[in-house]
Symmetry: C4
Subunit: 196 residues, 4 copies
């Protein structure tokens, strides 16, 4: 298995996820401002998920930039990540239509959390193959963002049963945290030739 | 981040957008000419949006032909453009089913306008990286089409609340303006080796 | 514009068309044999369209194998072909649910016909760029299949208003005609290095 | 026809299939635990199909890793495999909504079975081109997994009319069988340069 095939397949899946999410924004029957106003939460959920998929796509490239040979373990760890991301259209649509309900907000957080876990497992799998002194292990370092994000999202899930609004705030904060490009990895990898 | 990964991802997203728009043309239950006739505006909206996505795909390639290294800023400017383009299926479906209504016509124009702005920002971001003497800055030149288009679309949005038909005419005129391949860039780039 | 970008985009669009057609086969509510039986025509329409898209994908590669530089004309001739192919999911769904009705059968034929015309125009555009002595012009030769197919489909459209069944037979015959790989081009191109 | 075009097209189709399956998980109207609970079988069907498409994608790469020239026969054998895989979203949705019904369970198995047959035919077609001493023929060897899987699935189809639950168990067992990466081929191919 060559790295570029896995990257191309992942790119394809991510491109489809980011695009079909918009199909959950159903074309309304009305044509007045009220109709448009009712779409606001569906729209904002879509924006949030679009940003999250964008972040995963971006970070995914950083991960594989330094990966060399693709083993069966890496392949399935990658498919595991794609699985959780593939649930984004569903949970985005559900939360968008029921923004102030506890359960859809918690389930959205649950998928975010599992995607973060799957990403972490994928990172570990690649590091395990390169060794603790490999490019990725050095670049990731202490990885405070990768550790603080799942904690924030877990808190978001828990408080969704009390005040879903606060959960949304946390989900947005985590997205903003990652929207800043991961300069740690970028800097270290800049001088590193691709692993292939 | 290598340029070709960003191009492949953008190609994927554009290919999906241009294709799933057709899903907004719902298969009708009737089988007579009247049924077909009722589809005419949905169909024409689809044609217009298909041409717009085709134009963006075409111009997108010209932009990146001369781009060298992809920075985090370029990456997010590109995702920003894809975000507005991803709303095409939604606004195409809404305008197609309510062709002579003001608001869907205005919102369609709004998405066209934001896509034009996002494209302009992406262009500026790439030029900022290359410097004002770079290939793209020279090729784009005064960029009259890039400046006149958003103005026409803004006018289209405003008059949609008076006569939506005139807005449609303007949207079509802007599309025709770009349908003519951008010979400025093409000519200058022809002799330029790819930036990679 | 490089040839491989255009090929990749076309591959993407064709892959999406061939796959989303299946979404027109709606999951039924019943679970008995009768339910399954009622799906037969939708299923057969899907098979026919799947084969047609497969044929176009196959022939598309042959066309571009010998193409060199991609001009603006070739690009828009290609998008024109993709436009008609993008209507396949819609007309397949409509004909599948109304197999024995005249109009859906005629409209399906109409899209087949326009796709054939668009393919022919694309072929002419590439030949015009290579010159009449170019690889493609020589390989295509008299092109009897390219000439007889639209005629058969035109006949199919006309008789759909009398006996739609006969139209279906004609559509299937034309598909079978192309299912046989185009050995003319294959043979000539085998010894020809890619045009890039 | 170059091998990488066929691989890219297949990757695209598989990426779309694996992603649009999630669209069959309709966003529910309710927001309570009962609503979520009712989704469990649809969700588990989705997981199972996701794993199957992942397996096919993985094995597909192994197949083509050793393939050299792509003939018309290989091309259509590959499209035949993609056809059966393209029915996954439909049968997954149907079985997911009617988990304990005989017919949807049998039809799901039928598509699994036909995909296995199509895969086997594709393997034979590639081996026929390479000769019985080719890389793939040697690597596949006796192919016990490729022979036992269709038998298990056939049994699953038959008993679905008695106890659908047992069919599901069999479908899961076959998936687990393949989830273990195909070390036979992997080991032999590791030292083999790509066939292109």
């Amino acid at each position: 298995m060559q790295k570029n095939r896995l990257e191309a397949f992942s790119d394809g899946v991510l491109a489809i996820i980011i695009t079909i999410m918009v199909l959950e924004m159903k074309v309304p029957h009305g044509v007045d401002w009220q109709t448009l106003k009712e779409l606001q939460w569906v729209f904002l959920s879509y924006v949030l998920s679009f940003v999250y998929v964008g972040i995963y796509w971006n970070n995914h490239h950083h991960l594989f930039h330094s990966a060399g040979h693709v083993t069966g373990g890496i392949l399935w760890a990658n498919l595991h990540l794609l699985f959780w991301l593939s649930l984004f259209p569903f949970v985005t649509g559900w939360m968008g239509e029921n923004t102030f309900s506890a359960l859809p907000t918690a389930v959205y957080g649950g998928v975010l959390f599992m995607a973060a876990v799957a990403y972490y497992v994928l990172q570990l799998t690649i590091i395990a193959q390169q060794g603790r002194d490999g490019v990725l292990a050095t670049a990731v370092g202490r990885d405070w963002k990768g550790k603080i994000s799942p904690v924030c999202i877990l808190v978001g899930i828990l408080i969704s049963f009390v005040t879903p609004i606060l959960s949304h705030v946390l989900y947005v904060v985590v997205a903003l945290l990652w929207l800043v490009p991961d300069r740690r990895i970028e800097r270290r990898l800049a001088a590193t030739p691709p692993g292939e």
